[in-house]
Subunit: 191 residues, 2 copies
């Protein structure tokens, strides 16, 4: 993959929830990335904080200790799936199987490479802190990482080769008020 526009994979379940135009918005808004990879046939899904910047939409960043099982597997070239999900509401319906969630999610497929350059690492961490805490600035609100801290921290860039985004929004499905079979209640609990 050598373009800046990831292609979109196929959505089979609830194709009406496809939200591919919003994939970058979801990555920019997310808090936790669930990072999936496999080692010796065993899948792992590990939660990480992450960095994503819409000016480089084919890339996201993960960091941690050099001994991290996840980062070591990814740095060794393992295929990776990074999923970011935000739950916006719990949806209750008048019928059991129409209970649902309102959510936004993006599933990214790619590969990772380590970033070794200390200046580049420093810059990614500063932008990441700014993403989680808008306005928070190195030198004013916190001390930037020292060289030793940068060396002690592994940073990987995941190149996104394809991704899919989905969202469910709005009201429950199922019988509506006034319909004869409209037993019980329905609505959305915002989260």
């Amino acid at each position: 993959m050598d373009t800046a526009t990831p292609v979109n994979a196929t959505i089979r379940q609830h194709p009406e929830r496809a939200a591919s135009a919003e994939a970058g918005d979801f990555l920019a808004a997310g808090t936790v990335a669930h990072v999936g990879f496999q080692v010796d046939g065993q899948p792992y899904v590990i939660p990480f904080s992450y960095q994503y910047d819409s000016s480089a939409p084919d890339r996201l960043y993960l960091h941690g200790g050099h001994s991290s099982h996840t980062l070591r597997a990814l740095a060794a070239g393992a295929a990776v799936c990074v999923t970011v999900t935000m739950v916006d509401g719990l949806v209750y319906s008048r019928t059991a199987l129409n209970h649902s969630m309102n959510y936004r999610s993006v599933v990214c497929f790619g590969r990772a490479q380590p970033i070794e350059d200390p200046e580049q690492k420093q810059a990614v961490f500063a932008r990441m802190i700014e993403r989680y805490f808008p306005g928070r600035t190195a030198g004013e609100h916190y001390a930037p990482a020292t060289e030793a801290q940068l060396r002690a921290t592994a940073l990987l860039a995941v190149t996104i080769e394809s991704m899919t985004a989905k969202a469910r929004r709005g009201a429950p499905t199922g019988p509506l008020d006034g319909e004869p079979e409209a037993l019980g209640t329905c609505g959305v609990v915002p989260l």
Copy 2:
């Protein structure tokens, strides 16, 4: 695995965050399960609602359409990793690399089997609705699933063979108020 007490896997990163005694509490409290598996060497991580009941602590339930890529792979015997994460706060420190999150997470490893019995499916869905919406009851607040709806919905039970739980709680690390190098600010933004 034929006991009701899943064994715990090894925690390498931040072993001080180990919270294995709380794994069941975290599963009972979670909203989204990130379900990881691999097909033809490609890892996938897909968000699902789920059911977990502390009276059967070695099991969790996933459901969806019969054509679901995830459910089909799991029903065919793929090893699965199911991770549930709750983010409780964003932690800001006086030093860049001590920025963190307060979270609770549990990573479960296992295998899934389909559940075909309509009565068992109905019961799992009723308990699942009750977990997401405490007090919500079939026949009073909503209509139970019809036989046709039950047939149209796949339900899998994941047997948890091992799991690890971690939590970060409390204040930031890094320089404290009054220390000479205590540049800037620190604290926790609750979520």
